[in-house]
């Protein structure tokens, strides 16, 4: 028994390798998530962190949680995030310029304080303690052990949580639902709106990308009769993503110059 404890308490070498390999990566990914300009990048980095954590769970004899982490978190929840990002628009990127005075330094200072103190506390609390390990508890299987706990000791909490889930599902449906109060704007309505707007410049409709140029890709803006590019001709999403290609190289050169 004692031997077993000692055996488990000294972490096996493979686990140490795993940890020292993945933990810095997870930390870096988390930091990257913090600093990434685009939300999509943040989401992907978060997914990476979560997967890392799932691996750690498995390494820590929490097989069930590791699987759930991958399936529920990385799978479902992160998908939901990406889904919403698409809904909200990829172009809703964040400027990282701080506009609340003193917020960032204060935040960093506070965070360093919190982190430092937490680390210090953990260090103090776990000093000289050895882990008991889950070998004994998991002897009938991790999933079975968890299930026993959930349906006996924590059954009440489990039921309440289920109620919470249903409520949350209903709540999100209510929140996300929007009643249509007017009919969709059809082509006709848009046309009328264009004519009624102040200028008639766009009365004939916006130009589509690349039509008058030598290139017809969607990421190249159309050229107006005077030769200047028309940014309105390409999708706002492409513009926001920075995927717009300058149209100048595709501009037709004057004939005389070509002859020369």
């Amino acid at each position: 028994m004692l031997n077993l404890a000692i055996h488990v308490g000294n972490t096996k070498t493979p686990e140490a390798v795993l940890f020292w390999l993945l933990a810095p990566l997870a930390t870096l990914a988390a930091l990257g998530m913090l600093m990434a300009k685009k939300a999509v990048h943040s989401a992907l980095l978060l997914a990476w962190v979560m997967i890392t954590l799932a691996i750690f769970y498995i390494a820590e004899d929490a097989l069930f949680l590791g699987i759930v982490q991958v399936v529920v978190y990385t799978g479902a929840v992160m998908m939901l995030f990406l889904f919403i990002l698409m809904l909200v628009g990829v172009d809703s990127s964040d400027s990282l310029v701080e506009n609340i005075k003193g917020q960032r330094p204060a935040a960093i200072a506070a965070a360093i304080g919190v982190g430092g103190l937490l680390v210090s506390l953990i260090g103090r609390a776990s000093l000289g303690r050895t882990a008991i390990g889950l070998v004994e508890v998991n002897s009938t299987g991790n999933v079975q052990g968890l299930a026993e706990q959930l349906f006996t000791k924590y059954v009440w909490a489990f039921e309440v949580i289920s109620a919470l889930l249903i409520t949350a599902a209903l709540g999100s449906m209510v929140l996300a639902h929007s009643q249509k109060i007017k009919s969709r704007t059809a082509q006709r309505d848009q046309s009328i709106a264009r004519f009624r707007s102040g200028s008639l410049a766009n009365a004939a409709g916006f130009p589509s990308s690349g039509v008058f140029a030598r290139h017809n890709a969607v990421d190249v803006p159309a050229l107006l009769p005077d030769g200047s590019p028309a940014p309105t001709s390409i999708s706002g999403v492409l513009e926001a993503r920075g995927d717009m290609i300058a149209s100048a190289p595709f501009q037709m050169q004057p004939v005389e110059e070509e002859e020369k």
Binding site: T11, A23, A26, T27, A30, M33, L34, A39, A43, L46, V49, L53, F56, E60, A62, F64, L65, Q69, V72, Y73, A76, V77, L80, F81, I84, L85, L87, V88, S92, S93, D94, E98, A107, A110, A111, G115, V119, I122, G123, S126, A131, I132, L134, V137, L146, Q149, L150, K153, A157, I161, L164, L165, T167, A168, G171, S172, M173, L175, A176, S178
Partner: protein
């Protein structure tokens, strides 16, 4: 390897998450940071379970995941509604409280 390394990692991730909540303005990213903090807590729970040699920590972690899922569902729905009404997902734009 000392098992409390997991706890240190958990503390660091938690702190990074907290900074993100305070610093980032995109509501979705803020949410992700919250998720990061929850995950950091989960890691700590799982580690505690291992240290104490019982499954209570894992159960707590399980519940946290469920609650986090609920929270994400509702929170994202709120973000969508917010975005619908003001065409922005920045939390700074929702600052009507100061008036």
């Amino acid at each position: 390897m000392d098992i409390s390394n997991y706890l240190y990692l958990s503390a660091i991730l938690f702190t990074i998450g907290a900074v993100g909540v305070v610093v980032r303005r995109n509501a979705i990213v803020v949410f992700m940071c919250v998720e990061l903090m929850l995950n950091a807590a989960n890691l700590a729970f799982v580690t505690f379970a291992r240290i104490n040699g019982n499954l209570d920590g894992q159960v707590a972690s399980f519940f946290t995941m469920v609650v986090a899922a609920c929270e994400v569902v509702v929170g994202l729905a709120i973000i969508v509604t917010m975005y619908r009404s003001r065409r922005s997902a920045s939390v700074d734009d929702a600052s009507l409280l100061k008036r």
